[in-house]
Assembly symmetry: C2
Homo-oligomer: 222 residues x 2
């Protein structure tokens, strides 16, 4: 599959994308069970198609399946957040390091343009919500690493679970502008082809995000 523009060619693809969006956005609540027959009816496809879609959700770490029992959407927990963000810090830090070396000048220019467009959003006081895919800052840097295995592990692996935390816990307040500034300095490091700094800034940025989300998660629990 083309990682940049994932396109639904098969019926199972459509079901997978649809389900994934519903899960990430919280339309189906975290922790709930996925019934194969029910989903087959809802999407008007066969159970085989639903089963395949669910298996792909398991690969994304969005769903857990037990043999002969069924599949449930993962629950958002502090422990899960910590272990996820430890891995994320390592992998995206590496992505930033590689991107500083491997992105083309044009890609870097486009990335700067993207940030400028984000700046408009931030100034207008909106929530700096990051859409999935190509409009997402982190997504661009991941692809910029040019390392196929890294891209696959992040994009097909944990990217959407990360988004799920981000979307469902929300992100607002002072963190928004701070995050934007951090993005800006990461791109600056990449523009300077300073791989080491890019990695360090990215790791810090992800750590701050994690702290912010952890706080949110503990507040919500009360």
């Amino acid at each position: 599959m083309n990682l940049v523009t994932e396109q639904a060619v098969t019926s199972s693809d459509k079901t997978f994308f649809h389900l994934r969006k519903d899960i990430v956005d919280g339309n189906i609540r975290a922790g709930s069970k996925l019934s194969e027959t029910e989903l087959a009816n809802r999407y008007a496809v066969s159970r085989a198609v639903v089963r395949e879609a669910i298996n792909r959700l398991v690969t994304c770490h969005l769903v857990e399946r037990k043999a002969n029992i069924g599949a449930r959407i993962v629950a958002l927990s502090p422990a899960g957040l910590v272990s996820l963000y430890q891995v994320r810090e390592s992998l995206e830090g590496m992505a930033a390091r590689l991107a500083a070396t491997n992105m083309t000048d044009k890609e870097i220019a486009d990335l700067n343009a993207l940030l400028d467009s984000h700046l408009q959003t931030v100034k207008s006081g909106e929530t700096y919500y990051q859409e999935a895919g190509d409009v997402d800052f982190h997504y661009r840097i991941i692809l910029g690493s040019k390392n196929d295995h890294l891209i696959s592990m992040l994009v097909e692996g944990i990217y959407h679970l990360i988004r799920m935390y981000r979307v469902q816990l929300g992100m607002a307040g002072p963190r928004v502008t701070t995050a934007f500034d951090e993005h800006k300095s990461i791109v600056q490091a990449i523009s300077n082809r300073d791989a080491e700094l890019a990695e360090m800034l990215m790791r810090r940025h992800i750590l701050y995000t994690r702290n912010s989300l952890e706080k949110k998660l503990l507040e919500d629990a009360c």
Copy 2:
């Protein structure tokens, strides 16, 4: 699924394990196509079972599938090796760091015992071939990290692809005893609870292994 002792409960599990072994060991040659009907006949199961097994092999990065065309076993290439080992270095380095903190004293003792038993093998001049699973040094340290996402990405993700390179390219000569010594010093660092050193030694160890495999891969190509 229990990551430590993966157990085949369903027919699809058995097929998956069997196929995975055949691929890693090279019984089915790298790069060749997987025919669903043929495999269904060979293993005496339905195509649905085979399809599910193949999808799981895709998750392991052992197989690539294109819609309406089919699935092929990945080819072993220098580029693939490099990108794989970049990721591996980062993730297993992290695993070693976390293991230095999170492994219990008993687990560390067991790990030392395991290395002693490996020493017998090395002394007797055998190839220090690492079996899959619990007898594997790296496997133990991965589990010792106690980070669920990390464990999942490594064990269900790239572990068996790494083994595939190791098994099919072979490993012999002076690298064998060198690798053993490196293992030994990593365990030493973990015993001392020196997380930083454990990570650095693991990263170096993986880098050396990569260099050795790269050389082998280029030789074989001639």
